[in-house]
Symmetry: D2
Subunit: 358 residues, 4 copies
């Protein structure tokens, strides 16, 4: 069950970094939706390795093949099966880590949990799995688009370089105007410079992605364990390298007084809205029609080009040193993943909500 996500619109994924292919099955996609397959592929391009100088130079075609569930251009309501072949299976690249437990990787935990693991490129623990989420998310985004709902994610910080403007002052159409995917060209340049310098030092760096859902209808999300933000949090925390999630006022809100934090409700021209949005568009776990916004914290990538102490499978002390082509910063490539997971959560809750009244 742990390789599935969503209740009605439900994605199940499979695949290891260096196996034959990765892929997935989307169950519960509504029937009769005209899908633009090029848009799905273009989302994959945003996640693809080798797309710029600040991401891994590994090459993967990342071409998605749809195997079922779409007929004459439209969804049929039956499961959408798809796969993405692993065309870059350079297994020899990884033979040196076969018996190693790399620091802050999942080598040790997989070995102990399962007694056996595919060590090549991290196997199932590789972020390569997230390409499948991007496929499902791209479909969800198209369906949300038909409903007038949009999802926008962007890089908010890299290390200590952080956007100061609130998201309302940003132009989301600029997100893809630079290689770091920060819609502020000045901050973007600083971030790119920092990542590039970090890469030259053989090091890696973390950061924060912010996501914004606009035009979400009132009423999505389910009390009590299915709160919309709890599902968004679970979605984001399931992405590789994520260490934290907050929505609305978030951790800062914990320092505030209620009198400052509360969002007054008002009405103008028959439009109900709140005068502030510390609630992040969600009250009692249910969307209230305001923008939903949240932050996702990513740690620095664990593979660094420096020597580190660790153990091997026989529990002997060893020195580990990263080789090959790795991301100095995962943020630029993680933007479409955050988009995808947010879109899946919103669509899933949209569909569930249709069952709550007759």
């Amino acid at each position: 069950m742990s390789n599935s996500f969503g209740k009605i619109f439900r994605l199940t994924t499979f695949g290891e970094s260096h196996g034959v292919a990765i892929g997935g099955i989307i169950d519960g996609c509504p029937a009769g939706i005209s899908l633009d397959l090029d848009l799905i592929q273009s989302e994959l391009e945003r996640r693809k390795p080798g797309q710029s100088k600040i991401v891994t130079q590994r090459k993967e075609g990342d071409i998605v093949n749809f195997l079922s569930g779409i007929f004459e251009g439209k969804t049929t309501g039956t499961p959408i099966g798809f796969n993405i072949e692993n065309t870059n299976q350079k297994s020899k690249d990884y033979s040196h880590i076969k018996d190693q437990f790399r620091p802050s990787h999942a080598d040790y935990t997989y070995e102990k949990k399962y007694g056996h693991r595919d060590y090549r490129g991290g196997g199932r623990s590789s972020a390569r799995e997230t390409a499948c989420r991007v496929v499902a998310g791209a479909i969800a985004k198209q369906i949300l688009g038909e409903l007038g709902i949009s999802v926008h994610s962007f890089v908010k910080s890299v290390g200590n370089i952080c956007l100061e403007k609130p998201y309302q002052d940003l132009d989301f159409s600029l997100i893809d105007s630079n290689i770091v995917r920060c819609p502020d060209s000045v901050k973007a340049s600083e971030m790119i410079e920092l990542i590039d310098q970090t890469r030259k030092n053989g090091d890696t760096i973390g950061g924060i992605i912010q996501g914004v859902v606009k035009n979400c209808p009132v009423g999505l999300g389910e009390p009590v364990f299915g709160k919309l933000h709890a599902e968004l949090g679970a979605a984001m925390l399931s992405i590789n390298a994520v260490k934290g999630f907050e929505y609305g006022s978030g951790f800062e809100g914990s320092k505030m007084l209620g009198s400052k934090h509360n969002d007054s409700i008002t009405i103008e021209n028959n439009n109900i809205s709140t005068t502030s949005n510390n609630s992040g568009g969600i009250q009692g776990g249910i969307s209230n029609g305001e923008d939903i916004y949240f932050n996702v914290a990513f740690k620095p990538v664990a593979t660094i080009m420096q020597q580190q102490e660790s153990l091997d499978k026989n529990h002997k002390k060893i020195i580990v040193e990263g080789k090959g082509r790795h991301d100095p910063c995962v943020l630029p490539r993680a933007v479409p993943i955050v988009d995808a997971m947010a879109a899946i959560v919103i669509l899933d809750n949209y569909l569930i909500n249709r069952t709550r009244t007759l």
Copy 2:
């Protein structure tokens, strides 16, 4: 499905703040466990209203009645049904809010989602529901205790008053030594003073609870969507008033370099451990045997004793003012809830893990 939590050890809850009773069903509790029912009741006492001057002065007996699943003092493996009567149903207290949408409450979203709601005391959106989680969590804690695993939650900050010591320097036996449940008597006094002052101002204040799981075995947690920290995050974010979750290095980790963030693995006297623990005891979503620690951010309580602008059911502008007995700060009473949800997640994953090898 949204009122259930957990996969194998699974809690389903029901109940409104001012209905007849709240309660729940625990399905999948292992058979043959001797339960100390007094310990369960004592966890409820930690969550109970009226326990000190810094929490709501509302009185509720909060006596749990077990109805099934326990026979001759031991669990039978069949569902444990329980309820807690609502002895304090002062419905008239709430008639004044019958038609109001209180700011930053769930009144508006419930009304729009369901077209109809139990307005008394927040109905289902009331934090009263969490008493049921405390019951299930207290059972989970006892079972974890038999396995040598312990869960420790405490108040880390209230407003801007924050513990500076890392949790390793705290004495968890002091958590309940003061009414705010902060195991540092100096900070605790400051927090109590702040809450008391806030209450006198008719205001409320937020804060952070930290949770620590000690002696968790290696191997709990499931790739890829069932990562242990994703389940902990979902659990915590489902608690009323929670705005954020982070584990290990958390949001601070997003500013770090990989070379500083990585946890080297070492061995001493046949004990494998990491020399630092930015991973927060979880790598690739699977526990590695180190302490699991996390922070949970709570917003200030929405009900304040001040005038606020809002709308009523007919979308007319109104002035709302809190009445009655409310918490100026939810943190002291939320400590056993965080304990409970953490215990449920760990036990559930412990049981699931038993199915992963033959």
Copy 3:
């Protein structure tokens, strides 16, 4: 998870025959439904012990108490918690079977599975649990009623006495006109006589219940594992004492030629229908608008007033003899249970189907 049934409209039950109470939680009931609570109680009366001379003379009040989820007469969309107190806890009645494994009861399997069991009256394995299903089913039936869908179950056979008329020739309004719940007064008299004679012999007898769903809309049921008849089958097979399920042509259909079995599709006055209904209203797992009908086979009750060889807990050979008040035939009381489970399945699939197109 095994004490829950349904995906959207989801019932979870708890309780042992001689515990404090049995009860359940209904999650996912649509909001805004006006419920007639008397109708729910009257369905319980149909299942209640002591209702006639051909059922157990045990007395249970079987009064359902609703604890949540209903406000001002209407469902709120939040979980409906309810319980039924066990007023007839004559535990001493059962002390003689404390250490016995009664033939064809669940004593032995529960003991071996869980290592410990509530032996009183069968504990969790008692059919008393089904009262909770009747409560949920009575709610589902009311909601289906608003949609124009009706469910009709009746006793088709007891032992070798079997209705010869097809259900189309029966008057469902007569189902409750006799104590065996067979809508054919001649056959009913024979059945009652057979059950009465069987009871006098200290024996028990099985039979078949037929269920019919009328006016089910086209499109309910989900390929491939969620076929409507697979869910009906799972529902019926989960009822105590059930040994078989068939729908439409059923086992007889296995002897037929395709040319005789196929149901031609035709149209008259814009109404599409089939000229025969061997499909039982379901094609490819999806309702086609025709009547859904099915048979459920019940074995004879295991408790008989005769001596039988068996073992005790210590694996010593013993002679077991039934005592107390037991049903000579479970069929009359099982009719509302079949009704209930069918209604839950149909409503659940009705709600799910609303998510299959935008």
Copy 4:
């Protein structure tokens, strides 16, 4: 969710008869199992079209490709992704039925449910999907084999030709000794003759498959909705063309007296057993260590080579006549499917049962 089966050992499938490929994902397969991939393929050969004169002469390679979850010959505990290419996509064969609603097929129900369907070869409603179940079942069978548990299915009847011997008197090693898969050579010849004659008449015929699980440990199955036979029933009823399921005494048991039906429990040489087995190896939904046996009724295949009245998409009356290569009787090819579904249910319950005690 409806394209998934199983709770811990969980299969999700995708694919249409004439799409690019069919396939599936097995989540929750225990790690460290050495799989014999040839055995899996050989199970597929048993289901494959074209294998004998009494099945469809359509040709499909039905070669399974494993894409993940197996490394160095052993399962890794991560999802096993696989596909089977549709090499025989003769879409033109089906253009004539594009707008037809074939009698007793799912054409009409899919069209009305989804508003759009892949009409080629039945699309998702084709029994081709069951090849994926055979793959998962073959893996489950291997794992059960390591536990000493075996599953045996065979054709018990075709039309009115029925095995008279109880399964205990059959030699299961003869199941595959003839093309109809009935382990009694005399009956098998009669069945083959009947099928062949039926085929020549352009007609089809149904039948019954019996399944037997030997050496199942005591304790598998979960009260109350997860009864082992309820899960077996749901599994079997989800197979195309199945109309009924019964276990143990089944429908015949409904005619019996309790005094004849009850299975006495006895002990010999420390082996506990029952002197009869009307319970079919399951009491109270939990396996008791005796043989589990059940019958599955299949209707005749809907596609016949005769003229039938029906409607087209525009609701005009038409004459439908089968073309191409179809099965005159689905039974011989359904034997491995019944095997597969039984194996999945037993393994899944074996794994779940490991969580029921500490």
